[in-house]
């Protein structure tokens, strides 16, 4: 277990972490501000990736595809809000679950119909492909660094938006007590649409950024959705800061667990047993972590006030 390997794995963990943050941020905002469980958030991530592939096919430029796909993700998010979600605010959480589950089924099937079942891919932009040497003998793909960088930048932007601007203040107030904000004469509807569209765009952004690394396929959002829920629950629902901390935590625990669980278990048991137990344990690790966190702090690490 060399130092170089450890550093690389930590970077990998960070990269998974910021990706999860991009998705979880929108989810936790929508949940926190509108008290709305949006299971369809994962398919918005998937759609971002598909749109990027489609626009890349049209324009041949990654950056054009990025901009167009972001815009399309925003429009699509707003469309969903108007068509479906708007009718369900204030309803039982379980109504949200069943409706957004329906949207998942529809969209997973729809992308298959439109783009086919075969996995698609998006090339890494030429200028950002290849690897850099971070230290002697420590090569790291540039694109992964770009993901980490842009994820951190979004986190910073969100921090400034939420803590320094009027909109941010309304969002924070909405997360604590939405009725009060409405009563104060704020157009809560517009605020909701705004937050929703923004969240959808962030999920789309995550999908676009990851498309050069992962295969773009129907159902790619389902697993990530569950991970994002794990993140916002550990972080405390409605808390951007909690989502950020929890996302990095999950990213690191998952990546480091996967790479070192077998080696660590080998210290205690036979190699062949470690090989069987290790991966199973590594898959469980984040759920174990969530169970422990919730046992100790039943409302997550950074519970939003008033809930």
């Amino acid at each position: 277990m060399s130092t170089t390997l450890l550093i690389v794995q930590i970077l990998n963990g960070l990269q998974l972490g910021v990706l999860l943050f991009l998705i979880a941020a929108g989810l936790t905002l929508v949940f926190g501000v509108m008290d709305f469980i949006n299971l369809a958030h994962g398919v918005q991530y998937m759609l971002g990736a598909y749109l990027a592939v489609a626009f890349y096919g049209l324009t041949g430029s990654f950056f054009a595809a990025l901009v167009l796909a972001l815009a399309a993700a925003l429009v699509f998010g707003l469309l969903l809000e108007v068509l479906v979600f708007r009718h369900l605010y204030g309803r039982d959480h379980l109504d949200h679950v069943i409706a957004t589950f329906g949207i998942i089924l529809f969209l997973n099937s729809a992308v298959k119909l439109v783009w086919g079942a075969a996995p698609l891919s998006l090339p890494v932009p030429e200028a950002l492909s290849g690897s850099v040497a971070l230290a002697p003998g420590l090569l790291y793909p540039v694109w992964r660094l770009v993901i980490i960088g842009s994820g951190l930048a979004v986190a910073l932007l969100l921090y400034v938006l939420v803590s320094r601007t009027r909109i941010g203040m309304l969002v924070r107030a909405g997360a604590t007590n939405a009725e009060m904000v409405g009563a104060l004469g704020v157009d809560i509807r517009r605020l909701f649409s705004l937050v929703f569209g923004f969240g959808a765009m962030l999920a789309g952004f995550a999908g676009i950024m990851i498309a050069p690394i992962l295969s773009v396929e129907p159902g790619m959002g389902d697993t990530i959705l569950i991970l994002a829920f794990v993140v916002i629950v550990i972080g405390g629902i409605g808390s951007i800061r909690g989502a950020f901390v929890a996302a990095l935590l999950i990213g690191l625990v998952d990546t480091l667990g996967r790479s070192f669980s077998v080696d660590i278990l080998r210290l205690f048991m036979a190699s062949s047993t470690a090989r069987t137990v290790g991966p199973a344990l590594a898959s469980m690790l984040i759920y174990l972590l969530m169970a422990v966190v919730l046992y100790v702090r039943p409302t997550g690490l950074f519970p939003a006030k008033g809930r």
Binding site: Q15, A118, G219, R258
Partner: protein, 391 residues
């Protein structure tokens, strides 16, 4: 109240279907079950397309009988698959079931399909238990015994004098079988044996380990989307030019459209490739591409062979499926010209065939395919046959 009515209506509809099934005895019914939803849908589509292409080329007939192919999606859920095949056997009274894609579905459906004497032809999954102790007179495999595909890479690595290897597969039964298959022939040092969670997306952790271990060869079994992700990330990490990758089901025509240039130069073990040089295969590949606009993978060709197998047996029995002993004997003869050339059945109803090392290449028309590098095994039978009591 309405619910009750609609339930009864559904039941009635099912009854009506069953009744109509009884009248249409003349048509040969073939049930095709494959995974057609979710990420692995592309594999199921290849199987469906390959089979239907063969039926179409035979003028909608197999062995001279009109064919009706009933396609069902197993959703990669074993209990759903059991329900679907039971419906095929009991409601639709199919004579053959063709499918599935995945081993765990095969384990679930063999019993419900075959216990009443219906013939099951697996165009992809070929697990070791059905080759050995659980071998079944009503089960025919047109693919291979799973281990063999992995043994190709192990054998070739050994023959070409490789000394160190890094091997990796998903953490499930087929994954473990694959690494065991590789190690059966490779006698060099295994630097590390890694099991990743099924459907893992990101291989950065493992790639770092590979870079640190510096093996002479990497062997992976990462089917479907896992393979797409691994190959792209392996290329991005700059490893593709230094350490060769041998693989099974990681680079094939179902994943190459997504992997593209990233997969160039990757090796795979296979029983076939689109450029396998015989006239029937050339015609098949051309027809498949014409019909479906994509290069066929092993799934498609094995399903095509499954249709040819049924056709040959029914030709021998003059279309009769009632005499099961005669039908089984005719199937066992495998009297058809396989797209892979040499093909015959062992006593366990698994094929004896040649295996090749293949390599990913870009065709002049810009499409990608695997191409044969050299033959690794000649008329190779699986070792499990010794546990099979069938003669």
């Amino acid at each position: 109240m309405t619910k009750t009515v609609s339930m009864l209506a559904t039941a009635a509809a099912a009854l009506a279907l069953a009744a109509s099934g009884a009248q249409a005895q003349e048509k040969l019914k073939v049930g095709l079950i494959a995974t057609l939803s979710g990420p692995p849908a592309v594999l199921g589509q290849q199987i469906r397309n390959g089979f239907q292409l063969a039926v179409k080329q035979k003028g909608g007939k197999l062995g001279g009988r009109e064919v009706e192919v009933l396609v069902q999606d197993d959703e990669l859920k074993p209990d759903i698959a059991v329900g679907k095949v039971k419906a095929m056997v009991e409601r639709d009274k199919v004579d053959f079931v063709v499918g599935p894609v995945f081993s765990n579905i095969l384990q679930a459906i063999v019993k419900p399909v075959t216990e009443g004497g219906t013939i099951l032809i697996s165009p992809n999954a070929g697990t070791s238990n059905y080759a050995g102790r659980d071998c079944n007179p009503n089960l025919f495999i047109t693919s291979y015994q799973n281990d063999q595909m992995h043994e190709i890479s192990g054998k070739y690595a050994q023959d070409s004098g490789m000394k160190t290897a890094f091997i990796m597969a998903p953490n499930y039964q087929a994954g473990k079988d694959s690494l065991a298959g590789f190690k059966r022939y490779f006698k060099g040092e295994i630097l590390d044996e890694v099991y990743v969670p099924l459907n893992q997306l990101d291989y950065s952790a493992e790639l770092s380990k590979i870079a640190a271990a510096k093996p002479q060869v990497v062997f992976v079994f990462l089917p479907g989307g896992m393979g797409v992700n691994f190959v792209k990330q392996y290329r991005q990490a700059g490893l593709a030019d230094t350490i060769p990758v041998y693989s099974t089901f990681t680079v094939d025509e179902s994943t190459l459209p997504a992997q593209q240039d990233a997969a160039l130069g990757f090796f795979a073990g296979s029983n076939w490739a689109p450029n396998l040089d015989n006239p029937q295969n050339k015609a098949f590949v051309a027809a498949y591409e014409q019909e479906f606009g994509a290069v066929p993978a092993t799934y498609a060709f094995q399903a095509y062979d499954a249709a040819l197998l049924i056709d040959s047996a029914l030709t021998a029995t003059k279309g009769d499926t009632k005499d099961r002993d005669a039908l089984r004997a005719a199937l066992k003869k495998a009297d058809f010209v396989s797209l892979r050339g040499s093909f015959k059945y062992n006593t366990n109803n698994y094929p004896i065939q040649d295996f090749y090392l293949t390599k990913v290449a870009k065709r002049p028309d810009g499409k990608y395919q695997t191409e044969i590098v050299r033959k690794v095994f000649d008329d190779y039978a699986d070792p499990y046959v010794k546990d099979c009591k069938m003669k």
